[in-house]
């Protein structure tokens, strides 16, 4: 026994010795001493490297729906309109746009002398071609429905594009801000579903594709013929690194300039590491989605508003924000991004009030049974929260389970893979309560989610919400193109929704971004459109560039 112990101690001592020796032999990376905090005048050039978790399947966004594709494609293709930093419309390819008095016709006037990055002119014929492409029956796109409402599209001259609708349709303007215009001269007569163009695109925006190394990275280089002017950073590289921890290591090693951080990295790791703070600036902006608890309103007892409100009062939203997001989020009270015109500033989320929750349940006829569970007509208040494999949602469900237990509600949690979750439960309406997220919409139209007509399998009002007043507001909202009148409609809509509590708004998380201090010109704090709204003005001063890039 003693022998074997001494053998083991020999092995351990050897291992430690080896580790120390290897550490001592290592050399620390030599970093030039530069002061990243100095002010530098704007200049052109340099390379910015970021990391994305997935590789785009192609760069034609009407077909490749994933976020990785639009993140790259938005630098290559232009739309007729875009959002400014306050999320109001402004022209991108369009110099101006006009809506007819009957609100059924929108006429876009293109900017003069627009060009594709291959030098060919960009005209209204390209816009018409793109519209035909997305509405073509053989185009494999799920995003055609908004464009199919156009009953007539025409390009009377090179700079004019006109669309007519049977009825006024307010989300139409937004739809034209989301359609990447494609070049007719390269795609006419080709099969859009299966074209090498998707991996070798020609656009009209700030950048053009330089090289796509499959599975590794995409690099874009500034497009001298850009319709918007020349961006200050010459080259953008997106590396595909699926693992978040590996991305963070690459960031620490100075190999990427920016990444989206997790709350732990933002709130715990960065503050504890001065060497990171020296090199990186942290930014936070409200993200584009909110997390909610949605009730199946067709099932008892969720058809009773008092029960829904009781649950709303019984959940401590701040606890979720602190516990799940480490404080990196905000409570919301409407499906609109706070700070934009659509968000009703008078609405407040339900405060945490277990006593009120208890009282509401008692008012609805529930009493505690001998196990401490609320019960009505011999039936205990017990249900299952369904959610998908998403750590934040799973943790939220656990915290909610505990809070609801305190007022006598028995909750079980079930976590599922996304496609099975949608196919087996959401589509069939076979659930009690779901924990999910929706976008904080830029266009306020929420018809598909809240109108009572949208409850068939595969449609989005799967919780079964039905309110005549809301129906009418949603119908009016999509017919109204005047932004101020529209705003009043959606403020009222959000107020009724909050009062009715068909869902419990839990939180909207912040987008957390670390960006290397070599990159200057970033707006902080972020406007409603986010820090990325003016990437064309970001710049990298020559002394701060990487060696291999400033050669």
């Amino acid at each position: 026994m003693r022998d074997s112990l001494s053998d083991l101690s020999h092995v351990a001592a050897l291992t430690v010795l080896l580790a120390v020796c290897l550490s001592a032999c290592g050399r620390a990376p030599i970093e030039p001493i530069v002061n990243y905090d100095l002010e530098y005048p704007p200049e052109y050039g340099g390379t910015m490297i970021d990391a994305t978790r997935g590789e785009p399947s192609g760069l034609i966004t009407m077909i490749a729906g994933e976020s990785a594709a639009s993140a790259v494609a938005q630098n290559i293709f232009s739309s007729l309109l875009r959002y400014d930093k306050n999320l109001e419309f402004e022209g991108e390819l369009a110099e101006s746009w006009a809506i007819s008095p009957d609100q059924k016709v929108i006429t876009f006037k293109l900017k003069p002398n627009l060009k594709w990055s291959d030098g060919k002119p960009l005209t209204s014929a390209d816009v018409l071609f793109t519209w035909r492409l997305i509405t073509d029956e053989n185009t494999r796109t799920p995003y055609a429905s908004d464009y199919k409402l156009v009953i007539k599209a025409e390009a009377p001259d090179e700079r004019t594009f006109r669309v007519s609708y049977a009825e006024p349709y307010a989300p139409a303007v937004n739809s034209w801000a989301g359609l990447d215009i494609l070049p007719k001269h390269l795609l006419e007569g080709k099969d859009i579903n299966n074209t090498p163009f998707a991996r070798n695109p020609v656009g009209s925006h700030y950048y053009k594709l330089e090289k796509w190394r499959p599975g590794e990275q995409i690099s874009l280089v500034s497009n001298p013929l850009s319709t918007q002017g020349v961006p200050r950073i010459e080259r953008l590289v997106s590396r595909f690194i699926p693992d978040e921890a590996s991305q963070f290591l690459e960031l620490m090693a100075n190999n990427i300039d920016t990444m989206t951080l997790s709350p732990v990295q933002y709130a715990r790791i960065f503050p504890a590491r001065p060497e990171l703070q020296k090199k990186f600036s942290l930014y936070k902006e409200l993200g584009n989605s909110y997390t909610y608890l949605g009730f199946n309103l067709k099932r008892k007892p969720f058809n009773d508003a008092r029960v829904r409100k009781a649950i709303n009062y019984a959940i401590d939203k701040q606890e979720l924000i602190d516990g799940v997001l480490l404080g990196m989020g905000e409570p919301v009270a409407s499906p609109y991004k706070p700070g934009t015109r659509w968000s009703n500033p008078h609405l407040q989320p339900y405060r945490y009030d277990p006593a009120k929750a208890q009282a509401l349940l008692e008012e609805a006829g529930f009493r505690k049974n001998k196990d401490g569970i609320m019960e009505r007509n011999g039936k205990p208040l017990s249900f299952e929260i369904l959610t998908n494999q998403n750590k934040q949602r799973e943790m939220s469900a656990v915290l909610i389970q505990r809070r609801l237990k305190e007022i006598g509600i028995d909750v079980r949690i079930r976590v599922l893979e996304w496609a099975s979750f949608i196919g087996r439960f959401i589509k069939t309406g076979d659930f009690d309560v779901v924990l999910l997220g929706w976008q904080l919409a830029i266009d306020p139209d929420q018809y598909a989610i809240w109108h009572s007509s949208q409850q068939a399998p595969g449609q989005f009002n799967f919780i079964g919400y039905k309110n005549q007043r809301v129906d009418r507001l949603l119908e009016r909202g999509r017919m109204e193109l005047d932004p101020d009148k529209r705003m009043r409609i959606y403020h009222e809509f959000a107020e009724i929704l909050l009062e009715d509590s068909p869902i419990v708004y839990l939180f909207a998380g912040y987008g957390l971004q670390a960006i290397h201090k070599r990159i200057k010109g970033i707006d902080n704090p972020a406007p409603p459109a986010g820090i990325g709204h003016n990437t064309q003005d970001w710049y990298i001063p020559r002394p701060l560039r990487r060696m291999e890039i400033s050669q």
Partner: protein, 339 residues
């Protein structure tokens, strides 16, 4: 022997069809399809559009009809095109009439995974064989204990954790090795020698990590095999005849101890192309493991079926090769095969 070989090859065809049918049915039993994962939860995508997509992908047809269509294509060795990725060919590149080449998905991912796994297999054999032999020869003494400790650590340490630790240590703390990816940023501008050196540096950690658990397993396997053989009567006889120790160990014992290794190596052929999701994700390597994982999540049926079919064919071939190699190495087995 030739008759045996032909018979085995002939039986592979119905076996492969059976495997593909079962795989096809199981994949389609899982709820959801590509239209649901792509835009299943986007209010901008209407149900009619998704239905239209289903028709375009043939997903509205009964599963057995879809299988028939798939089998028809497979008869011509056409693995079809991916649903998810702009209809890229699943297996091999295609060329359109303008001469544009679209590379196949497996064609791109396979060489990378194969390279890493062949290198790690080489490393395993190079290191595990001597370790196993030393361990057996020094049974219960210091080297044996040290190696056994290493084997246990190799089994117990989670690969992803060790990978991150090594990435941090060799990539962030010391600037020794690249952290992830296959090439450096400026690889295109490098001389070919520098390019190769750069690629090799990128491969060090992934190869080491994917070799680690195999290293532990095979060295233990060799140790136990050697111990078994060393206690056989013919080894005692050889020693009694006064043969030098190295002839006894390497000429008689090792050869016999290694016989079962042939089976293991034959069976590892499908593993060579399967890739590892975890290692490939951590090191950002676009290999087969990640391709398969992504395809399953996206319900990209043609890619899943392509990988499964190639995987099954290689497993069957691997088995056959292991049997043949075993017969070649062991006369007793060879006699059985001939009969």
């Amino acid at each position: 022997m030739l008759k045996y070989l032909l018979k085995r090859l002939f039986w592979m065809v119905p076996l492969l069809i059976g495997i593909s049918l079962v795989s096809f049915l199981i994949i389609h039993l899982a709820p959801g399809d590509i239209t649901m994962t792509e835009a299943g939860f986007d209010p901008k995508a209407s149900e009619e559009s998704r239905q239209k997509l289903r028709e375009l992908y043939n997903l509205d047809k009964p599963v057995i009809v879809q299988y028939g269509l798939w089998l028809q294509r497979m008869a011509k060795l056409d693995f079809g095109t991916s649903f998810a990725s702009h209809q890229r060919p699943v297996f091999w590149q295609t060329k359109d009439k303008n001469g544009n080449v679209t590379p196949g998905m497996i064609q791109e991912a396979l060489p990378i995974t194969l390279l890493i796994n062949v290198l790690s297999l080489g490393l395993i054999i190079l290191v595990a064989l001597p370790l196993g032999v030393i361990s057996a020869l020094t049974q219960n003494r210091l080297p044996d204990r040290a190696i056994t400790l290493f084997v246990f650590v190799g089994f117990a340490v989670p690969g992803f954790w060790l990978a991150l630790l090594l990435m941090y240590w060799t990539g962030v703390v010391h600037d020794w090795l690249p952290i992830s990816g296959l090439h450096s940023q400026d690889a295109e501008h490098m001389h070919w020698l520098a390019y190769t050196w750069d690629a090799l540096k990128h491969l060090v950690l992934p190869v080491f990590i994917s070799a680690l658990s195999g290293l532990a397993g095979i060295s233990l396997f060799v140790r136990n095999g050697m111990l078994d053989v060393l206690h056989q009567d013919y080894i005692t006889t050889a020693r009694a005849k006064g043969l030098p120790e190295h002839t006894v160990v390497y000429g008689h014992a090792l050869r016999n101890a290694l016989l079962p290794l042939i089976t293991i190596l034959g069976l590892s052929i499908p593993g060579l192309i399967g890739g590892s999701v975890i290692a490939e994700s951590i090191f950002a390597i676009p290999g087969m493991g990640k391709l398969f994982y992504d395809a399953v999540l996206m319900r990209d049926f043609p890619v899943i079926m392509g990988i499964l079919t190639i995987g099954s064919a290689l497993t069957l071939l691997g088995n056959l090769m292991a049997d043949l190699a075993y017969a070649w190495a062991d006369p007793r087995v060879r006699r059985g095969v001939m009969q």
